[in-house]
Symmetry: C2
Subunit: 354 residues, 2 copies
């Protein structure tokens, strides 16, 4: 826990001098002020995060964290539980959606086993083993993991981010893989935001009406059985969470402490962001919401944290796929700020009234 | 006109066999069906346009067409008219937003002088001269151009697209530059869609309230003075249009005839799309709307044609900037379709009920 506390203590405020310099430059570029909308404000946010008035995002990384969930055997997913491990192999072989979209945006993928129910045997250079356990316990019957494991999962996420920092890291996207993991995410979302369970529990990978009803009941039971301490985010994670959810929270906390913009994906990484923002309220300034997921509950998360998503492409896959596309938009915003000519440089007349 | 008619006659329907094959493959990829939302439907549309069940968008081109407008001297823009030519030079020097975003998405830019009010003296390899005239006449006093010039502007657009086709062209983005060109675009939009002038006339590059009121009056006057023939899109273009608007309509018509996906930008290329869709109702199937512009009136255009924009980043710059970002999303959708592993290939279990 000391490691987490120390890291949070290191997290600074946004660099207002860098943001001011970025704003001044943005307003001298050859376009009407504000005409690039969100690209302009986004570039200023990245300037504030990085402390660089013209940030350059050379090293782009997507960290995809995998874990299994005890609840998955209780009929909350359209897919069998072994798919978590199978998809990890798919990631390692480069055949999954996240591999395709990461290549598309020039990002490298890091695949982390945070708690898959079986050992991952085929390993490649992009694999990191941080296994905390072989899947969580079912949250409908008790806590997902011990308090100590919750701390370790966050610490593991911090280690993963810091290892990537050494290799070069200018922006990080955060994604998940874990059959059944919308259920703990709904439980966390309902508990932290105070929204009704029905409103923040969705169909995941494709539940029918009966499955959705069962899932809602299980989320309610998880909240009733576990009664987490509202003032202790580690306890919320331990009782309702998942190993990959803790890991993602750790990645986010470490990104902020090291002034790296952290692009969150959909509902699951959103639930991790809820945990992480409870631990460090300053974290929000370092997060960028990539897209609005179709999964109900995601809106509640973004509203609660206070983030506006960049994209709305009706996606609900996870893995970091939305984060990858979001990184491309953030990168575009920074290139505009760095590479466009100013009115003076280009010899273009500015507005007449100025 | 024969050239335009012949081209429209050549435009086929979407290739349903390619779309079916794309759909079958999309549903076997290692993700829950539909979980990539718009990326999935978009890839199928591109399959239908290109006739290729796994389309590859190697050669990406953005055609930015520039022209001046007589109405620009009547106080409808926050910028002086000479900025059109100055921005063309900025494009040719690589310093404008469209240059930055085209580089970002791996597209080459083609800058076309369709009717800038002065001769462009510095020319580079990306410059194409199709000048129809030195700016249009003011539409508040009479027609923008002759009927013959309207035909020639569309034909010039066709020529530009066909020249790029020879060099390699898998997807085209279409953008504009022209101080004052939101005014003719509002006039075209009001006339074609039947929406009130107030609803489809916006602030352009940044008009104040007085300027906006004047602009609305001028659009109304343009409609009253010109009375275009509702059944003759060439007449609408001649009376209310601009040289670059005609050129962009030509690019779109030619893209469809040659089965190249055409990604439209914001309000001005939207007005060109209205003209082009009036000439060829089948065109719509070949158009992709990149983004929702802040400029009021753009929504009316997309609703009328029946297109849903991919992005909403509160942009209103033109040049093809939205189209560039849109091309990146289309490219991502095609890569998903081509490059992802299927359940069989990856040894991943599909849903249990299947």
């Amino acid at each position: 826990m000391d490691k987490i506390r120390e890291l949070i203590g290191k997290t600074g405020v946004l660099d207002s001098a860098a943001m001011d310099a970025a704003r001044v430059r943005q307003n001298r570029l050859t376009k009407p002020q504000g005409s690039l909308g969100i690209l302009e404000s986004l570039s200023m946010k990245v300037a504030g995060i990085t402390g660089n008035p013209t940030p350059e995002l050379k090293h782009r990384v997507i960290i995809t964290m995998a874990g299994d969930h005890g609840i998955a055997t209780e009929g909350v997913s359209a897919y069998p539980r072994e798919v978590t491990a199978q998809m990890v192999y798919n990631f390692l072989n480069g055949g999954a959606a996240i591999n395709v979209l990461a290549r598309h945006v020039g990002a490298r993928v890091v695949v982390v086993d945070m708690g898959v129910a079986e050992d991952i045997k085929v390993k490649t250079g992009i694999f990191v083993n941080k296994k905390i356990g072989y899947g969580t316990a079912s949250i409908s019957k008790g806590g997902a993991m011990s308090y100590e494991y919750a701390i370790r999962s966050i610490e593991a996420g911090i280690e993963v981010l810091e290892d990537e920092l050494v290799k070069g890291l200018d922006i990080v996207g955060i994604g998940d893989m874990g059959i059944g993991n919308t259920t703990p995410s709904s439980a966390i979302t309902a508990f932290v935001t105070g929204k009704p369970v029905e409103e923040v529990t969705g169909r995941g990978t494709g539940l029918d009406d009966t499955g959705l009803k069962r899932k809602i009941e299980l989320v309610k039971r998880a909240l009733a059985v576990n009664k987490p301490d509202r003032n202790d985010a580690i306890d919320i994670l331990a009782k309702l969470g998942g190993f990959e959810i803790g890991g993602m929270a750790g990645v986010m906390l470490a990104a902020a402490a090291h002034r790296v913009p952290a692009v969150i994906d959909g509902f699951i990484s959103g639930a991790a962001a809820l945990i992480a923002c409870e631990l460090n309220p300053r974290l929000k300034d370092y997060l960028i919401a990539s897209h609005m997921s179709v999964e109900s509950g995601h809106q509640a998360i973004l509203d609660y944290i206070g983030l506006t998503p960049l994209l709305d492409l009706k996606m609900r896959l996870g893995e970091g796929t939305g984060a990858a596309l979001g990184i491309s938009i953030v990168d575009a915003s920074c290139k505009i700020l760095r590479e466009m000519a100013t009115f003076e440089e280009a010899g273009v007349s500015d507005r007449e009234e100025r």
